[in-house]
């Protein structure tokens, strides 16, 4: 099993291998998304297209975050900053009449890359929770800078005059075209990230996540590799931000809010780190859940919250983890799932806390019984000498009797 990422080609022979299960899944996901405009008809179609666009854009962002979390072991709690930076760069360009593809897109990517380089240079020196906090801090800084951009809306945000023009024509204005452009970029991102992770660079990154000491002993300096990964991930997320701003024709500091960063992490975790199709599915699932639940009730977060908690407790591998578990179970010898067995299993899992309570109670209830037993032992020990003496006396009785008999017989004899 090469590395910790599935969907990576193994130590390969020279002939092209058949695509792995994970790659097939990703391909089917792309196919489904490509058919989305055709599958949804009528009035709902344009709305479902909007939702689909957002899902695809956030899937790109989730893939970029997976590069950091899954391959690099770097949990960034400030990834949403790049969404905002990409969107603001393109939006500012648009508001100055420079909203063309050859200006706005490079601006968005360059701004994200520069921010990633500047903040990553400091952040990548830290590990663990310090990395989380420092990335959060940098995102907050970006957030506050954006709120202070009075000429560009400040807190209220910036409305774009128009979407980015391609070759002078508002091609992206057409919903369908825009959707397919986003989808194409998602496929390109998936291919790029998947090859990146399987490449020499990706292998070093994964190795650094696995055992940094060993990698240093071999001759790899962690800093440069991690910084490069951070810049690549930031730039990719800036691309997603560019698309997001185009989609809404609006950008505000809320794009960079730390809760947005948290949501990106949730998308990756919900889908399952360790694969590439996982985070994509996670982004899709999160947005669809958001949509579906918000139709049910205004307080949909009351449902989503516990769902996340339950996922963390029982399905911490996310959707990808569940799929992998299913495949393992199918490969393993089948134990028929009967209703009694299922009920027994659920009861087992559910009753565990009750059982531990029962044990604790029993221990406390049985303490008097233990004390009684101990008392009985002590009493017995105290009586031992007396009983021993009694026993010995009883044992001696026959011989005593015999001797007494003999003496009396002798006396009688001597008379």
């Amino acid at each position: 099993m090469p590395g910790a990422m599935r969907g990576i080609p193994a130590a390969a022979p020279s002939a092209p291998r058949a695509p792995s299960f994970d790659q097939c899944l990703a391909a089917s996901l792309f196919a489904l998304l490509a058919l989305l405009p055709l599958l949804s008809h009528g009035i709902a179609s344009s709305y479902s297209l909007l939702v689909g666009e957002r899902a695809v854009i956030f899937a790109i962002a989730a893939l970029s975050l997976e590069l950091l979390i899954g391959a690099g072991g770097l949990v960034s709690f400030g990834h949403a900053a790049f969404l905002g930076i990409g969107a603001y760069a393109a939006g500012i360009a648009a508001s100055h009449g420079l909203g063309t593809l050859c200006l706005a897109l490079p601006a968005a990517l360059a701004a994200s890359a520069v921010f990633a380089l500047a903040t990553g240079a400091i952040a990548v020196r830290t590990r663990g929770v310090y990395f989380i906090m420092i990335t959060l801090a940098f995102a907050q800084m970006a957030f506050f800078i954006a709120t202070s951009l009075a000429p560009y809306g400040g807190d209220d945000g910036l409305t774009w005059p128009t979407r980015t023009m391609v070759l002078g024509r508002p091609i992206l204005k057409d919903q369908l075209t825009f959707f397919y452009v986003c989808l194409a970029l998602l496929v390109a991102t998936y291919l790029g990230v998947s090859r990146l992770i399987a490449s020499r660079f990706g292998r070093v990154l994964r190795g650094l996540k696995d055992n940094e000491t060993r990698m240093q002993a071999i001759g790899f300096t962690p800093y440069l590799y991690r910084l490069t990964a951070y810049v690549i991930a930031g730039t990719l997320c800036g691309l997603a931000g560019f698309l997001l701003g185009n989609q809404a024709e609006f950008v505000s500091p809320a794009y960079m809010h730390w809760q947005r960063s948290g949501e990106l992490i949730i998308m990756v975790l919900l889908g399952g780190t360790g694969t590439l199709y996982g985070p994509m599915l996670g982004a899709l699932a999160f947005l669809l859940l958001e949509e579906a639940l918000s139709r049910l009730t205004e307080h949909w977060k009351v449902i989503l919250g516990p769902a996340l908690v339950l996922t963390a407790l029982f399905a911490s591998g996310g959707i990808a983890g569940a799929i992998a578990a299913c495949r393992r179970r199918r490969a393993a010898p089948r134990v028929p799932v009967t209703l009694p067995r299922l009920v027994h299993h659920l009861l087992d899992a559910g009753l565990e806390p009750a059982r531990s309570w029962r044990r604790a109670i029993r221990r406390r209830l049985l303490r008097p019984a233990h004390l009684f037993k101990r008392g009985a032992h002590r009493a017995r020990a105290a009586c031992e000498p007396a009983t021993l003496a009694l026993g010995r006396g009883l044992q001696a009785l026959p011989s005593l009797a015999e001797r007494g008999l003999k003496t009396s017989v002798e006396r009688w004899w001597r008379r």
Binding site: I69, V75, V129, F144, T147, A150
Partner: protein
């Protein structure tokens, strides 16, 4: 920029710092002892405030509602620990982030459901209302003094507890090396529960105390959470002393920055530029502080975990 305003803001900063300490103390202990990232600590603070308001609605007296709210916070914290957090110790930080993020969602929306989205309020008790003269012609509210005093008392009590009692020694040992403490035969599960309950109560206490002076609304815990995390990173994870120092530092710098940054900048920059950059820089000041501290001392000022 007058001297009296400076003094007032200094005290306000101290008050914010004390509040931050109460929230951060629980957070740093939980993270230091159990290696558990508790993002839900902020909502425990919020819950303390809501419970205080609810208790006040029932009892009508301030001090009784404080007591009731404290107890309720503790119970709720223990309930959370029993149901959710206990099963996440030792797991990957990411799973803890996922679960606690879910709790934040649930509770933020839950309070909106139960109490509505409109901000609630609680009157300051008569005993602590009014203001006292600080300087020439300068008065400062009694209640805020009370918060500072209460916070300092709690801090002192916590310090005594952690340094002079056996349980406190176990907590300090757990923050340094939890596995070793368990290997030495201590019931680590009970220790964890105690630490967690304590942290929840401290956060709840902070929430209870701010209920009269801040508007109690959903999401009030989120900003405090971020500040608390900044505090424990600066102070060093697992260290109460570090949390206290860092909290006061962060509180004072944040408050003074917000009040005076624009004025300070106006001394060197053009007034319009100062007015634009000032607020942004002020909000960023504590993050800059954190970045500087981490650059010099990557493990914070007083990290509890030694070379082990």
């Amino acid at each position: 920029m007058s001297a009296s305003l400076f003094v007032v803001q200094l005290f306000n900063g101290l008050q914010l710092g004390i509040l931050l300490f109460l929230v951060a103390a629980g957070l740093t202990l939980v993270f230091g002892v159990m290696d558990f990232i508790n993002l839900a600590h902020g909502v425990q603070y919020m819950l303390g405030a809501y419970l205080a308001v609810m208790a006040y609605g029932i009892t009508g007296t301030f001090f009784l509602s404080v007591l009731l709210a404290l107890l309720a916070s503790l119970l709720f914290g223990l309930l959370l620990e029993l149901l959710v957090f206990r099963h996440l110790y030792g797991r990957d930080h990411l799973e803890q982030v996922l679960a606690t993020f879910g709790i934040i969602m649930l509770l933020n929306q839950g309070v909106k459901l139960l109490w509505g989205a409109a901000p609630l309020n609680m009157p300051i008790p008569d005993l602590l209302s009014g203001s006292v003269p600080l300087l020439e012609g300068l008065r400062y509210p009694v209640y805020r003094f009370a918060i500072i005093a209460a916070g300092v008392l709690v801090a002192a009590g916590l310090y005594l507890f952690v340094t002079s009692t056996r349980l406190g020694m176990l907590v300090r040992a757990g923050a340094t090396n939890a596995a070793m403490v368990s290997a030495l035969g201590v019931d680590i599960k009970r220790l964890f529960t105690v630490v967690f309950g304590f942290g929840a109560m401290l956060a709840g206490f902070a929430g209870v105390m701010v209920a009269p002076i801040l508007s109690v609304e959903p999401g009030m815990g989120d900003q405090i959470l971020i500040l608390a995390f900044v505090v424990i990173v600066i102070g060093g994870i697992g260290s109460i002393r570090g949390a206290f120092l860092a909290a006061v530092l962060v509180g004072v710098i944040d408050t003074l920055g917000r009040s005076f940054m624009t004025d300070v900048l106006r001394l060197v920059l053009a007034p319009t530029t100062a007015r634009v950059i000032g607020p942004a820089l002020a909000s960023m000041s504590i993050y800059l502080l954190m970045a500087i501290v981490l650059a010099i001392r990557p493990a914070g000022l007083f990290p509890a975990k030694g070379r082990a």
